[in-house]
């Protein structure tokens, strides 16, 4: 059995079957949560999750912890697969679920109380706190709920260009902070070994 912070994909890549269970324990809920929001029906979400995990199992050997955390690696695979399925089907998820959920949250995109999943998500949380509620909501609706910019513009009343700008700037800010942190971590580790960068 793996420890809670041990990367599991390298174990799966070497044929460790128990790591498969641990991986589903650790990331199954995450992938299911993403699929439920980005697929129009529960059945399609189930099919998507199965596809995603088969792809994760197939690509386990490609994971590189120096580039991204395991959860981000899996989330990238999940998002690619979900977007691909949606593009092929030509359908997006039902907006009513989104409205219900955000109303229940009472947040309109606020993420103060979100759980922690991965270092990158923590950085994303920091960035989101810098953004206006409007910007947060655009990112939430586009990236988590898979909404098109047209739909977001309609539901929020924002101009189409503003929706795109919010999403683009938000992503760039998260990317920049991720790069910054990675660079400072690299500097730190080089410093420990006495190598100047």
């Amino acid at each position: 059995m793996s420890t809670s912070d041990q990367n599991l994909l390298p174990l799966i890549a070497t044929g460790d079957q128990s790591a498969v269970e641990d991986c589903l324990d650790r990331y199954g809920g995450l992938v299911w949560s993403l699929a439920r929001r980005m697929c129009p029906t529960r059945d399609e979400a189930e099919d998507a999750v199965q596809e995603i995990f088969i792809e994760v199992w197939k690509n386990a050997g490609r994971f590189d912890a120096s580039i991204a955390s395991e959860v981000t690696f899996i989330a990238v695979i999940a998002r690619r697969r979900l977007i691909d399925r949606r593009r092929r089907a030509g359908r997006r998820p039902d907006e009513s679920t989104i409205i219900e959920e955000t109303i229940r949250d009472g947040s309109n995109g606020d993420v103060e109380s979100a759980q922690v999943i991965g270092e990158e998500a923590e950085i994303a949380r920091e960035v989101m706190r810098e953004l206006s509620e409007e910007q947060q909501r655009v990112l939430q609706l586009s990236i988590f709920y898979g909404q098109s910019h047209e739909k977001i513009a309609r539901s929020t009343g924002l101009p189409l260009g503003t929706v795109k700008t919010h999403a683009r700037r938000g992503l760039i800010r998260v990317r920049d902070l991720l790069k910054e942190r990675r660079a400072s971590r690299l500097d730190g580790s080089l410093g420990e070994t006495g190598v100047s960068s």
Binding site: A13, T14, G15, Q17, A19, V20, C23, L24, G28, G29, L30, V31, W32, S33, L34, R36, R37, E46, V49, F53, I54, W57, K58, N59, G61, D64, S66, I67, F73, A75, V76, A78, R79, R80, D84, R87, S96, T97, E100, E101, R104, V111, A114, Q115, I117, G118, E120, A121, I123, A124, M128, Q140, I143, F144, A167, R168, L171, V174, R175, L178
Partner: protein, 288 residues
């Protein structure tokens, strides 16, 4: 999807951001055009990582358990692949990672991607066939999505030795009939098979765009049905007055079940019910 490829670098970068944020364009297809292809693949990956981080953040807020049956399917596929790892995923020397090629999420131009996919897929044809056989063999009794629930329930009744049948009863302060009309039916459950069905007649039709019925599985270890959050058993819709047979989709293995309950919740269901709209409950039959 936009068929217009960006011409300038700024346009290309905007198209990339839109493709990753909104999924309106295919990143790989853009990559084969004149725009995104100008960027280093690592730039594409950085944006994808940023989007994945945002997605993880919100997914954590709306965390849900993977449904049990789905988990079994994923686990079975993983076990099959893990056990046959060297044959299933051949490592090609040309794809091995070098120190100056650190990123693994490289979208490639379409023609290169096709060539690469073909070579990998050839190996995967055999693996996929083995996988399909193995997965089917691993869960011979798993209910098929194509088989009507009525037939699945009949099969369970004829094959499982430990099937129990539970009657519906009022739940909550008011009788069910006063809020939801006269509800009849039963629950059919086999703990050994981890399979069960709700049989319901008389529940009001719901509007699935705003609310859905949700099944809850209450185990003895989780306390009494009225005090603790039980396990999500899936959501369902009532579309008419006819008798409905609803498969129970427990998110976790259910042991020592003491009750099955139904609540009315927001569309898509909830992780923990506030039990403000209790519909019916079926408690374990007493042994006579």
């Amino acid at each position: 999807m936009s068929d217009t490829y960006p011409r300038s670098r700024d346009d290309a970068f905007d198209a990339l951001l839109d493709a990753i944020a909104f999924g309106d364009n295919d990143v790989a297809a853009l990559d084969s055009g004149s725009g995104v292809g100008r960027f280093d693949p690592s730039e594409v990956h950085e944006i994808e990582h940023a989007a994945a981080a945002v997605a993880c953040l919100y997914a954590a807020r709306h965390a849900e358990s993977l449904p049990h049956e789905l988990r079994l399917r994923c686990e079975g596929a993983g076990r099959v692949l893990a056990s046959d790892r060297p044959a299933a995923v051949p490592v090609r020397p040309s794809e091995s990672r070098t120190s100056h090629e650190p990123l693994r999420f490289t979208p490639r131009p379409a023609n290169e991607q096709t060539k690469r996919a073909t070579s990998v897929n050839l190996g995967w044809l055999a693996a996929a066939a083995c996988l399909a056989i193995a997965v089917v063999a691993a869960w011979p009794s798993a209910p098929s999505r194509e088989t009507p629930p009525e037939a699945q329930m009949a099969a369970l009744l004829s094959s499982a030795d430990d099937v129990t049948r539970w009657d519906w009863a009022d739940w909550g302060d008011q009788p069910t009939s006063e809020q939801f009309g006269s509800v009849e039916g039963e629950v059919v459950w086999s703990e050994s098979e981890q399979e069960g069905y709700l049989v319901l007649t008389g529940l009001p039709v719901n509007d699935p765009s705003s609310e859905q019925y949700q099944v809850w599985v209450v185990e003895s270890s989780r306390g009494t049905p009225l005090e603790v959050p039980p396990v999500d058993g899936g959501v369902f819709d009532v579309t008419g007055p006819d008798r409905a047979v609803i498969p129970i989709r427990s998110a976790l293995p259910a042991r020592d079940v003491v009750a099955f309950a139904v609540t009315l919740e927001a569309a898509g269901g909830v992780v923990v019910s506030d039990q403000s709209r209790k519909v019916v409950i079926a408690t374990a039959p007493t042994e006579s």
